[in-house]
């Protein structure tokens, strides 16, 4: 019988013989579980609120979470200074975050993907210009950029949406450009040129479908960061404005009463964490799932 080498053999190149795949399962159950609440609240929000998120009731101001002394199970996570139920406000915030992040990253994609395709396909000065702009944009931190936009446009929904689009388009453009560069040299593109296809046709019918899967992965990967940035900007007061609920706003409200009403800051933050974690995990899983398939093609 063969004896194990383990005692005398050095740990050599792990690559082939040792399984390199981490725990990539068929479906990312944990990530889906984490994201479920935001989608449920986002889609069905108003039907589910235990209370009206903007209804003030001073008799119920600053109630602690239900399991603590003075709490009330009708207001499970407590209330704020105006007596508004935290659970409802968090749910309402989910709706806003989902909307903003989704519209933002998709919008960024709508700009970034075509630009990346153009840059990779056309090359030359167009490529240069687009990439230089992307480079410069990337040298300005996201927060700073959005603050700048905010100071120009005033705060509010349009600021945060435009801000997210401007911050995120460049990553799409970079990655898609790389793909386009590779695709451009593939035989089937050359064939299309020989067949006298116009550039537009080539871009739309041949190149675009091939980068779609990458684009979708990118959208998923950007979703988490978009939510984080929205929270940060709302926290600064430059994003969603009261009386609407946004998680960043809720956390900011909680700051003033941190020592006494700590729950107002804690739970919205947890909501952000759970959602972003779920989105990041989903994005990671997706990029792993799609990648090997592409390599095999």
């Amino acid at each position: 019988m063969p004896t194990p080498h383990a005692t005398t053999t050095e740990p050599a190149i792990a690559a082939d013989a040792v399984a390199t795949r981490s725990s990539a399962t068929r479906w990312p159950w944990f990530a889906i579980l984490l994201l479920l609440p935001i989608f449920v609240f986002g889609l069905f929000g108003p039907l589910l609120y235990p209370h009206d998120p903007s209804a003030a009731d001073f008799s119920k101001a600053l109630l602690p979470p239900a399991w603590l002394e003075g709490g009330n199970w009708s207001y499970a996570l407590g209330t704020d200074a105006l007596g508004r139920d935290l659970v409802s406000r968090i749910m309402a915030g989910a709706r806003v975050s989902l909307l903003v992040a989704a519209v933002g990253v998709i919008g960024a994609g709508l700009i970034g993907v075509p630009l990346g395709l153009l840059a990779g396909y056309a090359g030359g000065w167009l490529d240069n210009v687009i990439m230089r702009i992307a480079d410069v944009k990337m040298s300005i931190p996201a927060v700073l950029l959005i603050i700048l936009i905010g100071s120009a446009l005033g705060g509010g929904l349009q600021t945060i949406l435009i801000g997210i689009i401007i911050v995120f388009w460049a990553s799409y453009a970079r990655v898609i450009r790389g793909e386009a560069l590779v695709l451009r040299n593939r035989p089937f593109i050359a064939l299309a040129r020989v067949a006298n296809c116009s550039h537009t046709r080539i871009l739309l019918r041949h190149m675009l479908p091939n980068v779609m899967s990458t684009a979708i992965v990118l959208v998923t990967l950007q979703f988490g960061p978009a939510i984080m940035i929205e929270a940060g900007i709302s926290f600064l007061g430059l994003g969603i404005q009261p009386p609407a609920s946004a998680w960043g706003l809720l956390i900011n409200d909680g700051r003033a009463v941190l020592e006494t009403a700590w729950w107002l800051a804690l739970f919205p933050g947890l909501a952000v964490m759970v959602t972003v974690l779920g989105a990041n995990l989903l994005g990671d899983w997706l990029s792993q799932a799609i990648d090997p398939k592409r390599r095999g093609a």
Binding site: A12, I13, D135, P141, A142, V143, I147, A152, F235, L238
Partner: protein, 306 residues
């Protein structure tokens, strides 16, 4: 090497130029400044006079030209409405505090991130690796301003180990720096880990083993140095995010740096201050990125030959 350095410097200067354009446009878009400088019942003639003085009736390109001239040659961003002194002076006065915070956070992030990344790579798929990766995932998913607030709640308010805010003794630096470092160290951890795993599996490490090189030399001299290349690249990007993050974290800890200044300026619509802050911050970042690029050239001998 020289050609490479010059090229990076050139790119940096262009970046600064573009930033100045952004800043200029942003302020122009935000409304007619002249309205703020005159009384509400000013006559149209008085308004026109003020506008003429400010040069607002000239073509946009000319206005930018004047603006650029003022900014680049004289460092003149105007006078801060709130403080009554040149905006640039106010900003430069606050800059050291932010640099101190971001600098310490960066050092922490590198130390923690690279150190833990190497540990995770060496114990791949075993429990230290799994724990570190989970912590890193959490670190990247949690807003740092919220972490900061929780730290204040636990360590300052309840335990009383650190002050709740402000800049003073060394202990006031601890919580803000750690808070700021967390998301960056998580990213650095992940990239160090994967770069180390690649390096440890590479042919050149195989050859080193064939030659009987001691394992610790393999890990710390060869594998780590090769792995650091992508890490340094990421670190450059992280710097930008750190400075951006600092702006928000400062508010949580009432740290008297550029962040608190900027938010305050926005609330008061102090445009000179906003312009000066954004401009100085961006220039500073471009400079830092340039340093990182040059560092690249030193670490990797292949680069200078491109």
């Amino acid at each position: 090497m020289l050609a490479y350095a010059l090229k990076r410097i050139q790119l940096g200067l262009i970046a600064i130029l573009v930033v100045s354009v952004f800043v200029f446009i942003a302020v122009r878009l935000s409304g007619d400044v002249s309205l703020m400088l005159v009384a509400t019942d000013a006559t149209p003639e008085e308004l026109a006079t003020v506008r003429h003085e400010l040069g607002l009736d000239r073509p946009l390109a000319v206005q930018y030209g004047l603006f650029a001239q003022r900014v680049f040659l004289h460092g003149d961003f105007g006078t801060s409405m709130r403080y009554g002194v040149p905006a640039l002076d106010v900003v430069l006065g606050r800059l050291p505090a932010t640099i101190q915070l971001a600098g310490l956070a960066f050092a922490l992030a590198l130390l923690l991130g690279i150190g833990c990344g190497v540990i995770a790579a060496l114990h791949r798929d075993q429990w230290p690796d799994k724990i570190l990766r989970s912590v890193a995932a959490l670190g990247q998913s949690t807003p740092n301003f919220w972490i900061g607030m929780m730290f204040v709640l636990i360590f300052a308010v309840h335990l009383g180990w650190f002050p709740t805010g402000g800049r003073g003794s060394l202990s006031s630096l601890v919580l803000p720096a750690i808070t700021l470092a967390i998301p960056s160290s998580a990213s650095i951890l992940r990239i160090t880990r994967s770069a180390m795993i690649d390096a440890l599996g590479s042919e050149s490490v195989n050859f080193l083993r064939v030659m009987g090189t001691p394992e610790r030399d393999i890990v710390w001299q060869h594998a780590l140095r090769n792995a650091l290349i992508p890490v340094v690249a990421l670190a450059g990007i992280q710097l930008g995010m750190l400075v951006g993050g600092a702006l928000i974290v400062e508010i949580v800890f009432s740290w008297p740096g550029l962040g608190t200044l900027l938010v305050d300026a926005i609330n008061r619509r102090d445009y000179s201050l906003i312009q000066a802050s954004v401009f100085v911050t961006s220039t500073f970042l471009v400079f830092l990125n340039l340093m990182v690029d040059l560092l690249f050239g030193v670490i990797d001998p292949r680069i200078s030959y491109r």
